[in-house]
Amino acid sequence: MILDTASQLRALLEAAQSVAVVGASANELRPSYTVFSYLRTKGRYDVTPINPTIAEIDGVKVFPSLTAYAAERGAPDIVDVFRKPSEVVEVVTEAIAVGAKAIWLQYGVINDDAIRLAIEAGLSVVVDRCLKVESARLDGGLSTSGLNSGSITSRRRKL
C-alpha cells in the first residue's frame, strides 16, 4: 500500500532498522549523498549505499546491487531509490526478490508500473517524498529550520 499520512510514515520510520540507498553518490553536492550522510550521522539506522560504480562512500562499503547486499546482510527494511523513473521497475523487482519491506521513491522518482508491482507484492510504498525530510519532520529537525512540519501535538517527544 501507499503510505501518505503522518502516522503511516511515522510507523514506517520508527519500525525500520536498515536502509539501502540505491543510487547513492559520493558527490557531496548530490541529494543522494545528502540523504545518505544525514541518515548515517543521525545514527538511528543501518544505512548502506547501493551503486555498481563505486566501492565506498565515507569509508562505508558500497554494494553493487540489492541482491549482493541481501546475500550478506539480509533483506533491508527500506529501499530508498534515487534512480531515473525508467529504471525503477528493475530496482523494485530486485527489492521484491530479496524480501525488502518498503520502497521509498525520492522526489521525482515516479513510475506507475513500479509502484503497482510493489503494492501487489505487499510492500509499503512512499512516493515523491524525501526520506531525510520526512525523518526530520518526525524528530523535530524541520522545526529547527523554521520549516512547517505540519505537526500539532501536546505529547512530549521522547529524546
Binding site: 541529494p31 522545526s143 529550520s145 523554521g146 520549516l147 500539532i152 512530549r156
Partner: protein, 424 residues
Amino acid sequence: MPDRQFGFSTRAIHAGTPPDPQTGSRAAPIYQTAAYVFGSTAQAAELFQLRGYGHIYSRISNPTVAAFEERIANLEGGLGAVAFASGLAAQLCLVLSLAQSGDHIVSSENVYGGTVTQFGVTLKRLGIDVTFVPVDDHDAIRAAIGPRTKMLFAETIGNPSGTIADLERLAQIAHDAGVPLAIDNTFASPYLCRPIEHGADLVVHSATKFLSGHGTLVGGVLVESGTFPWGNGRFPMLSEASPGYHGKIFTETFGEYAFLMRARAEVLRDVGAVLSPMDAWLLLLGLETLPVRMQAHARNAREVARFLNARSEVEWVRYPGFEDNPQRALVEKYLPHGAGSIFTFGIRGGREAGRRFIDALDLWSHVANVGDTKSLVIHPASTTHAQLTDEEMLKAGVAPESIRLSVGLEDVEDLIWDLERALR
C-alpha cells in the same frame, strides 16, 4: 499528509511549539544564547554543509525564533519561514534573495512610504531598478515586467490607501512571465487573508503589527510557498553553483526547500538582521490570540467607520468594508472575515483641521504604528509618508487631509466618545 487538518485557531496556539522535549515545559522556552555546542566535529561538519538539522549560531537560527517561524509558516500555509529584525529587513532580504545589481522588480505604488523609499532610493543605489505601478492597472503591471524582472510586489491591503490587491490576477500575470508574486500581508494578517491560497509565492509581514498585536517589539518575517519553479532559468542565484556556499546548487540539493535554505544560509547569514529570541517569544504569545483579536479589531473598525461616515465634519471615509466600496467584490473574495482595522478618513478643513483633531484626542494614541490592542492615529502626510514627493504621496493614496486610524480593542463606545470630542 496530516491525519487531521487542524483549524486556524488550534494552529495559532500549537504550531511550532510542542512541549519542550528536554524539560516538558508547556510554554515555549526562550533560548537566550548566541551559540550551540556541537556534538562532535562530524556533526559540526554536517551542520555547516547544510546536511544536518540543528543550530550553529543565533545569527542563522535559534530554537525560539524557529518556533515562531514554523507557526507563521503554518498559519500562512507556507513551506517555511525566515524571521528578521523588522518588516523592512524581511523585505530587503526578500529582494536580496532574488535580485542583484542590474536586476529589476515591479512594485505596486499603493504601498507603505518606507517601502517606496527602500525600493526607490536604497535599492536603486545598489543597482536594483524598480518600476512602481498602480496595483489595479493590470495592463501596466504586465507591461512593466521585463527579462530582468525578479519579482512582482504588492500589499494585500495598501497602506494607507486601503487599496485591495487582486491577488489571483496578480499571481497569474507574474506566473505567465515566470516571476514570483510577493505580498506584504501585514494589514490583513493570515487570519483575514492567506495570499498563498490565492497564488502568491512569497509573503512578508511587519510582525510588529497584528502578529505581535500589542506593540511590544519590532520584527519581520518572510514566508515561502515552496511551489514556485526556481529552476526556470530566471534565478541563477538559486539554480546555478553558489559562490556563497562553495558551489552548492540550491535547487538541486534542496528541491522545494531551495529558496528558504538560501534565504537563511546565505542572505540572513550575510545580512545579520535577526529577530531576537525574546521578541520571537512575544510573537508566539501574540499569535495565540490572533483569531480573537482580528475578529474584535474588524468589528470595532466597522463601528468606528460607520460613525465617522455619518459626521458632517468628515469629508470622506476610505474603509474597505463599506457596502458601496468600489472594491467590494475584492473585499468579499479576499477578506471574507473582515476588512481589517486600519483605514483613512479625510477631515474637513484639510491639513490644519487634521492637526487640531489629533491634538484634541485623549484615548487614541498618536503614534507611527498600527496593529496594536490600543487604538492609534496618525497624520501620514506629515509623518509616515513625509519623505515622499507630493506626486508620490497622491499615488500612494495620501491626501493632505488624510488621517489614518488603527482601531484597537477598547470598548468601541469609548473610542467613539473620544473621536466625537475631537471632531467638535
